[in-house]
Amino acid sequence: MQEFQTLDHDVIVIGAGGAGLRAAIEAAAHGVSVGLVCKSLLGKAHTVMAEGGIAAALANVDERDGWEVHVTDTLRGGQYVNNWRMAELHAKEAPARVRELEAWGAVFDRTPDGRILQRNFGGHRYPRLAHVGDRTGLEMIRTLQDHGVHQGIDVHMEVTVLALYQREGRVCGALAYDRERGRFRLFRAKAIVLATGGIGRAYTITSNSWEYTGDGHALAYHAGAALQDMEFVQFHPTGMVWPPSVRGILVTEGVRGEGGILVNSQGRRFMFDDIPENYRAQTADTPEEGWRYVLGDKEARRPAELLTRDHVARCIVREVREGRGSPHGGVFLDIAWIKERIPNAADHIKKKLPSMYHQFKQLADIDITKEPMEVGPTTHYVMGGVRVDGDTQMSTVPGLFAAGEVAAGLHGANRLGGNSLSDLVVFGKRAGEFAARFAKEHTALEPDQGEVNQTAREALAPFDRPAGENPYQVQHALQVMMQDLVGIVRREEEMARAVDGLETLRQRANRAGVTGNREYNPGWHTALDLPNLLTVSEAVARSAIERKESRGGHFRDDYPEKDAAWGSFNLLVQRRPDGGMAVRREPVVGVTDELTRLVEKYK
């Protein structure tokens, strides 16, 4: 029998990145008691790594922009399987959320007339990304953190949630452990917001930190909630490829937004060779026109490097496969070339892309103001996640909400750069508000002691197997398998092998053992992350097998074309009563006549 510290809050928010912080702030503003639970120290969550900017149709740089254009860009980028209601709310509310960040102290780069500056990004028709050099995520998380610590929120740092509990058909609590001492904490709450981010640690090459083990996805799934769109994983086209130890670290799309070009080993700007039909009208015919766009010529169209991430990533894979790659298996991303076109290019690059300059100089001995970078795709984001109501962000389980990367819907089959940071604050706010309302309308319920004890027993089991499987090795095997078999280019038989392989890995994970004690024991923490990684990996693989077409982040070698019939369905994953994973189709949500007209208008 375990001793638990028991804590009562009206609302607990799990995860303290942009979405979790914004949700906690909003819930607190509605007068309920809020607990914010996060795996890391406050302010270290993955939001901190976001670089390029936050998308909002402020129309500060191009007055033609507006929510109507933003929503259609988002839907086009997502290949129309988005939750259209979420895309609409996001486009309408993002400007207010950005201005709110400024009111809370964020210091964005400025236009010449003193307003918030916006930059170009892939798939956005107009310059739309409010930014701070290439460290926008840091600015955002710090702003929310510094504002949040004055809102009466109880922050539980370095605490990991193990399971959620329900009574009377709604959530009522969660069991967690603190990483430093390894002690259990039982949180009782009337509503719970998941804001746990993504699943990138299921892959070897990833831009994601250790935290991204799909915890929220798995917690929701085991609570009976539906997941959606899990086949749509975003491989960002530009991660570092060399040296090996930095493989996967993100190179911001902002490099291309500032005029960076992609070239193969033959020196060819290969992105101009393959422009998808649905973007042809918006894309420059020549590199010259693309450069004029970068300079702000409103008559010019975007350079081909600013096509959507799914497409750019596939083009890079093609160049490498066909033998036109860079020495270390990527392609070249060149920003230094702009010195041919503008004076003081080196200073300009350092001012607009300071972290990139720093990162390459320090980690790869490359001066990006002088030489090209080598880049290749890296696992970056999961469009799929917890299925939520577009307005309230409540999952299919009453009282359980989700916001940010862990939620599905906004991005459809492919997310546009910059739409993630705006997603966090738009839907973080909504989740916080509706979770607070839910909490006010419901009473507290006591989690079942037997279930709680069961969770605790299972969590401690790895200590009974000191000679068991090394959890790091199981995790590594999982990452290698997912990278190989359910990566950027997918085939039915490979994914079927992955599903079988996951079963074998599950058995190994069940035998995982750890040495040492419960205090700050990363081996134990890794062992406890494994079941979550296995759950989300299975959801990705099963959904990817089911979707027999290619769309957005999901590319099937055996079904390389987009199939219009699939364009009206999302795939849902849910736990069957017998514990197995069921995959089913549901029609796309939120399509209205008004939005359909807008899509047509801004084709």
């Binding site: 890391s40 993955h46 003193g114 430093e180 972290s355 990162q359 590594h476 750890v514 205090e519 990363p522």
Partner: protein
């Protein structure tokens, strides 16, 4: 493949010793890679705090060969690998386990500094106007990743343990970012002198030396703040006003 020896501090709550580990070294590796390799193969319970591994989150601060650094940004080819590389936790904070320290004090200090408070919006739509050149200075301070290396190396904290009287360089930079924010209307000079102990800093610039973000902590943040605080505290007009009105002059 080449190998190197790492002497890693192991133990709990202050009790501990260096333990030697040998591991393979490959091109481009950073110290954090070596620690992860050792963790995965030789010491699964080796405690280390880290997140982004890209120099952006400021979690993996440690003392490498005695110098406070981020483990993720310290390349092995910049160290002398013919000698063992020592890796130990930040020494200015209470030790938790192995390379992990209890940095919670920092999180308690921040809320003591009064938060950002903007003037009324400049435009009817609720927005403000700021020139880029007016925000450059603040943007430098806002690059801070809160790695606390500056706190670790500051002798006021490290040697004199004046945690109750001095907020440390990180929070002087934080205060400077607020005081020099074009929109902020609060005046924090009084509490900077009395509650936050800015006078303890005798500008040895150790903090600036270790800052992984290259923030000119001493020259651009602390010295200008000190000047503002002194101007305020010893302004004869303020003193006279205090004498006449009976309110305490200065902070």
């Amino acid at each position: 493949m080449a190998q190197a020896t790492f002497q890693i501090w192991r133990g709990e709550h202050g009790d501990g010793q260096f333990v030697d580990f040998r591991t393979e070294v490959s091109e481009g590796m950073v110290v954090l890679d070596a620690v992860h390799q050792i963790q995965a193969t030789q010491a699964t319970d080796l405690a280390v705090r880290w997140n982004c591994k890209a120099g952006k989150c400021g979690s993996c601060s440690a003392e490498i060969n005695g110098t406070p650094k981020l483990m993720c940004m310290t390349r092995l080819d910049q160290l002398d690998l013919t000698e063992p590389v020592t890796i130990e936790p930040m020494r200015s904070f209470p030790h938790a386990r192995d390379l992990v320290t209890d940095v919670s004090w920092n999180f308690r200090v921040k809320p003591q500094i009064r938060p950002f408070t903007p003037r009324a919006p400049d435009a009817a739509d609720g927005t403000w106007r700021m020139e880029q050149e007016d925000v450059n200075r603040v943007q430098e301070f806002r690059k801070c990743i809160e790695c606390f290396l500056c706190q670790d190396v500051c002798h006021v904290l490290r040697d004199h343990h004046l945690h109750d009287e001095f907020v440390g360089p990180r929070y002087l930079v934080y205060a400077a970012a607020l005081e020099m924010h074009p929109l902020d209307v609060l005046d924090r000079r009084g509490e900077l002198r009395l509650a936050h102990g800015i006078g303890y800093c005798n500008i040895t610039k150790c903090c600036t030396t270790v800052c992984p973000e290259g923030i000119q902590i001493t020259d651009n943040a602390i010295i200008p703040l000190k000047e503002r605080v002194m101007d305020h505290a010893f302004d004869p007009v303020v003193k006279l006003y205090g004498l006449i009105t009976g309110k305490i002059a200065g902070p």
